[in-house]
């Protein structure tokens, strides 16, 4: 942490950047809030721990940049997934890489608030403490210890890129050789089920969708000025929470982020009705990985999977 503060102070002092976007402590114990650090004094407000859930790189997209237009050069603190978003933005002409200074940090995973809340059966949490692989949660009249992994976001549990693949400065020790369980186990297990079972599950799950678009709004890869669901010419899909329309919405959204989703899990955290969103997004990720040997946001020089064609691609979906 001290190293981070020191580095940020340094780059602000050197006028290497006009601002550093990072996390500060939120008003609740388990929350972090985005902060814009412009002066050396403010640097002390920076934190980085398991509460730093949000992918701050969305501030870099054109739409959000309007807020921060006065900044010519922006420093930003990035976890693995955040860094991958920056790669995506660079490849997709959303930012110029040279206008951004990336301060990479090794990530141990971030909390999923919904899971924490479940762990303590909805009781108010006042403080927490990490003890190696466990988390000690404190509240009024209680203190509980749980395995840390039970409190982390799902994507963190299988994250293969805890260290920012793209950075200018890396603070701390990279977690390089993390051993991750099979990221696609849930997809493979689901694939084992019969078509009827899968269809029933998808239908039931997605009938819960209230079409609030929180998933889209929080998604770092969703930066279209006007999302297809909001367009009227043509009206691509029905706008009410009718189940087929909702399924189409999610399917198309997943196609739109195919080869672009960095699996930060922001959508999952944001969903008010707890949809199993990753059952689709991970499936798409797996297909992209297997078909095109491509993982979004890991190589700034690689062409996006969905925008390139190579002759020896698998074409098993074509008949004859």
């Amino acid at each position: 942490m001290q190293q981070l503060v020191k580095k940020v102070k340094e780059i602000i002092k050197n006028k290497e950047v006009d601002v550093v976007i990072g996390w500060g402590r939120g008003s609740l114990p388990f929350s972090a809030t985005p902060i814009f650090v412009e002066t050396e004094k403010d640097v002390e407000k920076l934190i980085f721990d398991e509460t730093c859930r949000n992918n701050l790189t969305t501030y870099l997209t054109k739409d959000k940049r309007r807020i921060s237009k006065e900044y010519k050069k922006i420093g930003i603190i990035v976890k693995g997934c955040d860094s991958r978003s920056v790669v995506l933005y660079t490849v997709e002409n959303q930012i110029k890489r040279e206008n951004v200074v990336l301060i990479g940090v090794p990530c141990n995973g971030v909390f999923e608030k919904k899971k924490l809340s479940q762990l303590v059966e909805g009781k108010e949490i006042l403080d927490f403490q990490i003890d190696v692989d466990n988390i000690i949660i404190k509240g009024r009249n209680f203190e509980q210890t749980h395995p840390l992994k039970d409190a982390l976001c799902d994507p963190c549990l299988t994250c293969q890129y805890p260290d920012a693949p793209e950075y200018d400065y890396f603070i701390g020790t990279p977690r390089k050789d993390v051993n991750v369980p099979d990221a696609y186990k849930m997809i493979n297990d689901f694939g084992e089920k019969s078509a009827e079972e899968r269809w029933a599950y998808i239908q039931e799950e997605y009938s819960k969708c209230i079409r609030c678009y929180a998933c889209r709004n929080i998604c770092p890869s969703c930066y279209c000025p006007e999302c297809f669901v909001d367009q009227n010419d043509p009206q691509w899909i029905g706008k009410t929470p009718e189940v087929t329309d909702s399924i189409i919405f999610h399917l198309i959204r997943n196609l739109h982020v195919a080869g672009r989703c960095v699996d930060c899990g922001a959508c999952v955290s944001a969903c008010p009705v707890d949809l199993d969103l990753r059952i689709m997004s991970k499936k798409v990720e797996k297909e992209i990985k297997e078909r095109f040997d491509y993982t979004a946001g890991t190589d700034i020089n690689e062409k996006p999977a969905m925008a390139s064609y190579c002759e020896n691609e698998k074409q098993d979906f074509i008949m004859g």
Partner: protein, 1013 residues
């Protein structure tokens, strides 16, 4: 000043004739395309697939055929022959006879009832006699023109005066037994001959039993058997018992490379043809054993060797280097092949079926035609042309292309066709073409409510016989925005089109839907009609209720009527959303840029300058000539004379500006409007031009194999040729020369044939042998690929007693210096000789390596600048390997010479002329019209992510990094809409096939309960 005309005659309407006609017509010239048969298309329609891409032959040809038929500058004379050509170049008078067709082409609707009822049944020539046709018929389903004609020698009425059935059944009253031959006189400036080729007829040839043994077929018979639209529907069965064969043998060189029948030439295409058939047959029949019996596999064309390797590896086609001497039929109809293996052993192998790879030979009537045209034939009976003038006949002003002057495959025929055009324009008047202004002012309909008029065509009984057209017309009346609906007998007839125009006027219609046949053939016609009625031609939509409804559901009239209503509904729904589209003019700068001043570059520059265009000819080196500078022999000609002449021509021509020692720094722009920055040691300079021809050549492979570089006695063929020229032979007495072929060619990372090395080796060996008859020459080769007429030199060399030793890749020759450190020590070459089945060792006094031709590294940068692709070998990749061999997917850029693929001098020149001719189709226009159906960007929705830019195959869309949005280049967009589908933001749309229009059509389907259930 020679005479010049605006008309030109093309004889023969195969792919070469079609290509020549299209090029000429695009230059604004009046073309008379004279064809003996009843359709254009030639041989290609008979083919099922084409090598090496396995493209469907008809699918790639059909668009060219219909373009040819629709072109306003082309007049097609079918069933016509040339009687004589008199006069002088620039002012020829050609007499042609148009033979009686006995069917009025204006009235015939090609419904086919006549042939169905015709009592005469004769062997169908198109299907190689595997099917019967009537005396009234057409060649094939997609023939152009599509109308039927009567075969007067077979027709019962015309021969015996009885029958007249076709007249009775014809619903259009098109039969005319009184039709007569007519003689037409054409005044033309030049003539292009493209009358094609025949296949060798193997009846009675050798001991192969063609036509005696039912399961022995020719490669062309087999092609029809494989074709899905052929007589067997693509299901190959043996004629003897209708059983699918389990094994097929292909026998190569039937009627080729055979002095006994005066065919001492290679037919060039049959090896690839057989490989293709073997592959396709394996695809059709799982577990089939396809074996090819060959002498040499001559896969010398671009990407051919990769195809050959694929056949061996992926498909498991067997290749047996063995000559078949006899075929015997077994009791079960199978065939026993007696063949001689390389080592002289005789074997008998049994196959279920045998395909004879028949060679190509001059057309039967070529002698007669030659006499009428006063042109000479060569020793093999093909049209005669000179090594360095491969497109000229012996008569000035008459040019030749296609396979008429030598066996050729499709892309080479197309190349020669365009090349011949560049020659022919010498006697033609090229005036730069203006865009033809519209005569009728267009009604402004913006803001008007859609007022749709619907018309349902009976097409005689073709539609009305199945679909209740009155019901469909009635149904359309109730569709939203439909103001008028009616049914018409033949919507495309002149009087019906007048009716439609009248209705547009009466009802103030602003959208037209016609339910009839297919838009692929009739949309252009109806668009013109809509235009004549004062509406924008894009306010028109078709519902295909014939080809895709009445004809496909003949036994279900009610459901076909329901489907027609649906299709009509969709048509109306889409029509409501149609908007007028404009085709923007793109100005064409008449100047040309040619990159590279080797043989191809100089030839192209010369051709363009001769046609009156200013040319910038750029050469990287200080001297002109490229690789030609190192070539000294060409059998009967002197390449150095050719070089001198070319240099003189480009230097003295005032229209050619030469830039030597100059590099291309940058090329911007698009067809008609390129801007190029040149760089020399001293300065930079920019040029503006309309087109680019890439003629950057290739280079000799630098080998380290076979101890090259270790001794002065180990040299390349290029160095050997120089030695022959300078006569600086090694001082010591020579006894043996060894040549090794395929050094750096046809191997893993370079799986292509360098094409010229076999001929070069033969040529150099002959030159040497004639001087030193007592010195032995050994040639270690993999396949000798002296294709075409080059074969005779190979034979000549063999006859002079040269040893040819065949080696395989796994048993390459070995070269050793007895004293490894001593370059002057004895040089030994060891090679395994399969004929004697053991290794032989030769003490070589000279070792000559046939090193490969490599692509230039600079191709990558140039490709990037021009936005054109390279193949995996680094050679420039043309737009289509069969039918657009010198074009690129990017308009206005062309390729010629070695930059495209290894080739010989005559081929480079031909291709250079072809590139020039293709370039002239643009340069000879003051402006071209961009497509109307192109993409557009909604700036407010675009994020500039660049997916579209990467997806677009035509480089027609680019992100403006300043504005952060994508910009469509309207000149380049082909309207495929791939970018539209890639756009997440919905920022892109395709005019004429917009999201809104397509959605409207989808929604219309929602309204109708399909099948009424």
């Amino acid at each position: 000043m020679s005479l010049k005309s605006r008309s030109v005659m093309v004889v023969g309407a195969g792919i070469a004739g079609i290509q020549a006609s299209l090029d000429l017509a695009e230059m604004g010239l009046d073309v008379h395309l004279v064809e003996e048969s009843a359709t254009i298309g030639g041989r290609m329609p008979q083919l099922d697939k084409t090598f090496p891409t396995n493209d469907c032959s008809m699918c790639i040809l059909a668009p060219k055929m219909s373009e040819c038929a629709r072109h306003p500058n082309i007049t097609i004379h079918i069933k016509s022959s040339v009687a004589e050509v008199t006069g002088n170049p620039g002012d020829f008078t050609a007499k042609i006879v148009e033979h009686a067709k006995y069917v009025d082409p204006v009235k015939c609707v090609a419904c086919g009832l006549c042939e169905e009822k015709c009592p005469v049944k004769v062997d169908d020539e198109f299907d190689m006699g595997l099917r019967k046709r009537g005396a009234i018929s057409r060649s094939f389903l997609q023939s152009i023109p599509s109308e039927y004609t009567i075969d007067e020698e077979r027709c019962l009425y015309l021969t015996k005066g009885v029958c007249r059935i076709c007249e009775k059944v014809c619903p259009a009253g098109a039969i005319n037994y009184e039709d007569k031959d007519i003689e037409i006189e054409l005044n033309v400036g030049s003539v292009i001959l493209a009358s094609g080729i025949d296949t060798f007829n193997p009846i009675g040839f050798g001991h192969f039993g063609y036509k005696r043994y039912p399961n022995v077929v020719t490669s062309l018979d087999f092609e029809r058997m494989l074709s899905a639209s052929g007589p067997f529907g693509g299901h190959v069965v043996r004629a003897s018992d209708n059983i699918e064969p389990k094994s097929i043998a292909f026998i190569q060189c039937v009627g080729s490379r055979d002095e006994s029948i005066d065919h001492n030439y290679c037919s060039s295409a049959c090896c690839m043809f057989a490989i293709k058939e073997a592959i396709i047959a394996k695809e059709h029949m799982k577990g089939l054993d396809s074996s090819i019996f060959y002498m040499d596999i001559r896969a010398f064309g671009k990407d051919f060797d990769k195809y050959y390797e694929k056949a061996k590896g992926q498909y498991g086609v067997q290749f047996i280097k063995s000559k078949v001497s006899e075929i015997r039929e077994l009791e079960n109809g199978s065939l026993s092949l007696r063949h001689v293996l390389e080592n002289g052993k005789i074997e008998f192998t049994e196959f279920d079926m045998v395909v004879l790879s028949v060679g190509l030979q001059p057309r039967e009537n070529i002698t007669k035609l030659a006499k009428k045209l006063d042109i000479k034939l060569n020793e093999f009976g093909f049209c005669r042309s000179d090594t360095f003038e491969p497109l000229k006949t012996s008569r000035e002003g008459i040019y030749v292309c296609g396979a008429m002057n030598g066996p050729r495959d499709i892309p080479e025929s197309v190349t020669t066709a365009s090349g011949a055009v560049a020659e022919a324009v010498k006697y033609l008047r090229l005036d730069r073409q203006e865009i033809i202004e519209k005569k009728i002012p267009e009604k402004d309909i913006v803001g008007d409510r859609p007022r749709v008029g619907t018309f349902v065509c009976h097409c005689g009984i073709n539609i009305a016989g199945v679909v209740d057209v009155k019901d469909v017309a009635e149904y359309a009346k109730d569709l939203p925005n439909v103001e008028h609906s009616e049914d018409l007998m033949y919507a495309c007839s002149q009087d019906c089109m007048n009716t439609i125009k009248q209705r547009i006027e009466e009802h103030d219609l602003n959208r037209i839907v016609i339910a009839a046949c297919t838009p692929r053939t009739h949309e252009p016609l109806f668009r013109d009609m809509v235009s004549e009625a004062g509406l924008n031609p894009y306010l028109f939509e078709m519902a295909n209720i014939r080809d895709q409804c009445s004809w496909a559901h003949m036994n279900e009239p009610e459901l076909a009527t329901e489907k027609s209503k649906d299709l009509m509904n969709m048509g109306v729904a889409k029509a409501r959303e149609l908007a007028p589209l404009e085709r923007l003019p793109i100005e064409i700068n008449p100047k040309a840029l040619v990159i590279g001043a080797g043989l191809a570059g100089m030839t192209a520059a010369e051709a363009l300058a001769d046609a009156g265009h200013e040319v910038f000819l750029i050469e990287k080196e200080a001297e002109l000539g490229g690789n030609l500078r190192n070539i000294y022999f060409a059998f009967d000609k002197d390449p150095q004379e050719l070089l001198a002449e070319k240099i003189k021509n480009v230097t003295k021509n005032k229209l050619i500006q030469l830039y030597k020692s100059t590099q291309i720094e940058k090329i911007d722009g698009y067809v008609g409007n390129f801007i190029t920055t040149l760089k020399t040691e001293k300065d930079e300079q920019t040029l503006e031009h309309g087109i680019v021809i890439i003629a950057t050549g290739a280079e000799e492979h630098k080998t380290k194999e076979y101890l090259y570089g270790k001794s002065s006695r180990i040299i390349t063929q290029v160095e050997f040729e120089e030695m022959l020229h300078t006569q600086q032979f090694p001082k010591q007495k020579m006894k043996n020369i060894v040549m090794i072929q395929c050094v750096g060619s046809r191997e893993e990372d370079k799986m292509y044939c360098s094409r010229v090395c076999c001929t070069k080796a033969v040529k150099n060996a002959l030159t040497f042998k004639k001087r030193f008859p007592n010195i032995n020459i050994y040639v270690a080769y993999r396949d000798i690929r002296t294709y075409g007429f080059r074969e005779k030199y190979y034979t000549e060399l063999r006859d002079l007693g040269t040893m040819f030793v065949h080696y395989d890749l796994d048993k390459k020759p070995e070269v050793t210096l007895v004293e490894e450190w001593n370059p002057d020590s004895q040089l030994n070459v060891t090679v395994f000789d399969p004929i004697i089945d053991k290794e032989i060792e030769v003490k070589a006094d000279l070792l000559v390596l046939a090193t490969a031709i490599d692509a230039k590294k600079e191709n990558i940068d140039l490709g990037r600048m021009l936005k054109v692709s390279l193949n995996t070998d680094g050679m420039f990749l043309e737009a289509h390997v069969k039918l657009r061999p010198v074009d690129f997917a990017t308009d206005g850029v062309f390729v010629a010479g070695l930059a495209h693929t290894p080739k010989d001098m005559d081929e480079s020149m031909t291709q250079a002329k072809a590139a020039a001719s293709r370039a002239l189709t643009f340069l000879n226009k003051k402006a071209i019209l961009a497509e109307g159906t192109i993409c557009e960007v909604n700036d407010n929705r675009c994020t500039g992510c660049g997916y579209c830019e990467q997806i677009c195959a035509y480089n027609a869309i680019e992100v403006d990094l300043e504005k952060e949005i994508a910009i469509v280049n309207e000149a380049l967009c082909k309207g495929c809409g791939a970018c539209v589908a890639s756009c997440r933001c919905g920022a892109l749309d395709l005019r004429g096939f917009s999201n809104e229009q397509l959605f409207s059509a989808f929604d219309a389907l929602d309204m109708v309960d399909i099948l009424g259930d």
